[in-house]
């Protein structure tokens, strides 16, 4: 590039203007860009939560599809619980990703999430209900 072709400073999009163009604005209009490794780690955590949600949904589908010898409407109930939890986890994944991304941009400590405790409790509850239904 010859000096005559060099764009002036105001023609080069600044780091901030590129971030402003990103969506959603409630995340990218705050703070500054964190270390890319942390951003990518946050993205991978989001994807891991989505896969957990999909596993619940697939479990709910499987339970509904196969003939399982369970008392009354237990099979249907467990299936709906699994599908509901899977759906909630998939939405929670995005909310959690957004919160962490914004905290990282603002250089704030990451907020505590009750999701893991709730997830463990739900898996335990499903296992207990299924065990009782099989007996």
């Amino acid at each position: 590039m010859t000096p005559s072709q060099t764009p002036s400073e105001d023609q080069i999009p600044s780091e901030d203007s590129r971030h402003r163009a990103q969506r959603p604005k409630f995340i990218y209009s705050h703070g500054s860009e964190p270390d890319p490794r942390y951003t990518l780690a946050n993205e991978r955590t989001f994807l891991a939560w989505i896969r957990t949600g999909l596993a619940f949904i697939a479990g709910g589908i499987a339970l509904n599809a196969f003939t399982v010898d369970m008392a009354g409407d237990t099979r249907k109930t467990i299936s709906i619980i699994a599908l509901g939890i899977g759906s909630i986890i998939s939405l929670w994944a995005w909310i959690s990703w957004a919160r962490v991304e914004r905290s990282m941009r603002e250089r704030q400590p990451l907020k505590h999430s009750p999701a893991l405790v709730l997830l463990s409790g739900t898996v335990f509850a499903i296992a207990v209900i299924a065990a009782i239904a099989f007996l």
């Binding site: 969506r23 490794r37 993205e43 891991a48 509904n64 249907k76 709906i80 759906s87 939405l91």
Partner: protein, 97 residues
């Protein structure tokens, strides 16, 4: 000598997107198979929509990996919303039985 990309975070993230696409494909096509019992049109619509979303996610993840796209917020939202819809549609199908 220091490695060029410490920990290969981009590769790990791309592989994570791939695993998610695989899980999404299994769940959505299982749902389409179940919907076949209700209606052929519904099953075909679900399968076609799932295929479209899968292609979209694969393309987005490739662009993110190459660094030629920075819409992480939008792409994560699409994945989140379609997974949520998948669960809701299945709940409706179970309740209809």
């Amino acid at each position: 000598m220091r490695p060029i990309d410490e920990g290969m975070p981009r590769e790990r993230t791309l592989l994570s997107w791939r695993r998610t696409v695989l899980a999404f494909s299994i769940a959505s096509f299982a749902l389409a198979r179940l919907a076949l019992a209700e209606s052929l049109t519904l099953a075909e619509s679900l399968a076609a929509t799932a295929l479209l979303v899968i292609v979209l996610i694969v393309v987005i993840s490739m662009l993110l990996y190459r660094g030629s796209m920075s819409a992480v917020g939008v792409s994560t939202f699409i994945v989140s919303a379609t997974t949520f819809l998948l669960g809701v549609i299945e709940i409706l199908l179970v309740l209809k039985d």
